[in-house]
């Protein structure tokens, strides 16, 4: 396999396509959507189609797609709410290839799930989640009321887990025909103790499924890192005991081949969203969250107060695993050895919103 890697870097000023040797300096191969925010970009490995969620500050959000990442992009029809919903899409947070042929999912703000059955050209609102009677009790997080995490189940197209800020985890086994909350064990420490039991406003920050052990989900919560071993029904706090400098953060990566391994990049606190102690550190667990170890070789360890956003941390699926993240200050860091060593692979980009290896 080639030792080249391609990154899709969504920024406040367009999409940057970076290419280079894994773990080395990367060059800008293309820039698209200049001047507007690209919230998220990804490539569907099944079809080779690239998708970008683009929010024009004046003219609204929409998904674009292409097969040629250096060429022209095609505007898709949505996602957009039907007229009777009485809402307009504000941001499209995430685009995830589904399990069925042609199925692509999109999570948006205000919190809603859209499904495409034609590879992203048209989109349909999931009405069961939109019309859920508990919606009136949902609360927006600092980033708005957003559906940012979509976790398909490999080989099981009807099973899906969603993360919503701040409405917790939602599970379906019938392809989105019905939904139930999966939040047992999550403690909202940001609420008064008396209000923590059965709180509806659970601020999930990020959530991923372990592909080789699909019943395992990992979550970065507003306060805490959690792991579920029963497909999201119950959650175990795995962030408090062993070595993280903070329980607050957004970015998270799960090892695609080893379900016991995960990486997070904590921020100091919800009221101080920068790297703790002026040090940029990625933390790894290799024992299912029992302990966490800093992986910071090559990352700046002095006077570094940067912010890494929710979608700005990814892996490349290779062996050894490549890890990449970008900060709001415009630097992309990469590691070709699963986080053991890091290099600044691109610098002086606009505010980085998302990073995905394609």
């Amino acid at each position: 396999m080639s030792d080249q890697v391609e990154l899709l870097v969504g920024t406040g000023k367009g999409l940057f396509v970076l290419r280079g040797e894994r773990g080395g300096a990367m060059a800008i191969a293309a820039r698209h959507f200049p001047g507007v925010t690209v919230e998220y970009a990804t490539r569907d490995p099944r079809t080779g189609v690239y998708y970008a969620s683009v929010t024009d500050a004046h003219f609204g959000p929409r998904v674009w797609m292409t097969k040629d990442v250096e060429g022209e992009w095609e505007q898709t029809a949505g996602p957009a709410f039907p007229e009777d919903a009485g809402e307009a899409v504000e941001r499209i947070w995430v685009i995830v290839p589904g399990e069925g042929e042609g199925v692509v999912w999109a999570g948006v703000a205000p919190a809603a799930l859209f499904r495409s059955d034609d590879g992203g050209r048209t989109w349909e609102l999931n009405r069961a989640l939109w019309d859920h009677p508990s919606r009136k009790d949902w609360q927006p997080g600092a980033g708005g009321m957003c559906l940012h995490s979509i976790c398909p189940w490999p080989g099981e197209p009807d099973k899906l887990a969603l993360g919503i800020s701040a409405a917790g985890v939602w599970l379906t086994e019938d392809g989105g025909g019905s939904w139930r909350r999966g939040v047992k064990g999550i403690v909202a420490r940001y609420l008064p103790e008396d209000a923590q039991g059965d709180a509806p406003d659970l601020c999930v920050h990020n959530m991923y499924r372990a592909p080789v052990k699909p019943e395992r989900l990992w979550m970065q919560f507003h306060g805490g890192v959690y792991r579920s071993d029963d497909a999201g029904e119950t959650w175990n706090d795995v962030g408090s005991a062993g070595g993280l400098p903070s329980d607050f953060g957004f970015p998270m990566v799960i090892d695609p081949k080893d379900p016991s391994k995960a990486w997070v990049i904590p921020l100091t606190a919800d009221i101080d969203r920068v790297t703790p102690d002026g040090k940029l550190r990625v933390f790894e667990t290799a024992d299912e969250g029992d302990t966490w170890t800093a992986r910071s070789k090559g990352l700046p360890q002095n006077d570094t107060y940067v912010t890494i956003l929710r979608q700005a941390f990814c892996n490349d699926g290779r062996d050894p695993l490549g890890l990449y993240f970008g900060d709001k200050s415009g630097t992309v860091y990469g590691s070709a050895d699963a986080g053991a060593t890091w290099t600044a692979v691109a610098e002086r980009l606009p505010t980085i919103v998302s990073v995905r290896a394609s």
């Binding site: 507007v36 024009d56 003219f59 957009a80 007229e83 809402e87």
Partner: protein
């Protein structure tokens, strides 16, 4: 028929036409007709609730107008992005 005057990027979505004749007795009807003529523009000026986006301004002559403003034959409707809402 009124005339809608467009600048980039809307002009690009209207196949490069900076001036488009539309049917309608109000600004909103005229903009809906514009979208019907150029489907790629759907959602750019009017959101899915059918209202003009918050950071888009519509003018008739020198006056900023709302969707219910009436238009007549040869009324010139200018659609521009507002100085608010930019991507800083």
């Amino acid at each position: 028929m009124a005339v809608v005057v467009l600048r980039a990027p809307l002009k690009d979505l209207a196949d490069g036409n900076g001036s488009v004749r539309v049917n309608g007795s109000t600004v909103l009807e005229s903009l809906r007709d514009l979208e019907a003529t150029y489907p790629r523009m759907a959602g750019w000026v009017l959101d899915e609730t059918g209202t003009v986006r918050r950071h888009v301004n519509v003018f008739i002559d020198a006056n900023r107008v709302e969707g219910d403003a009436t238009v007549e034959t040869d009324t010139e409707i200018t659609v521009i992005h507002a100085i608010s809402g930019g991507n800083s």
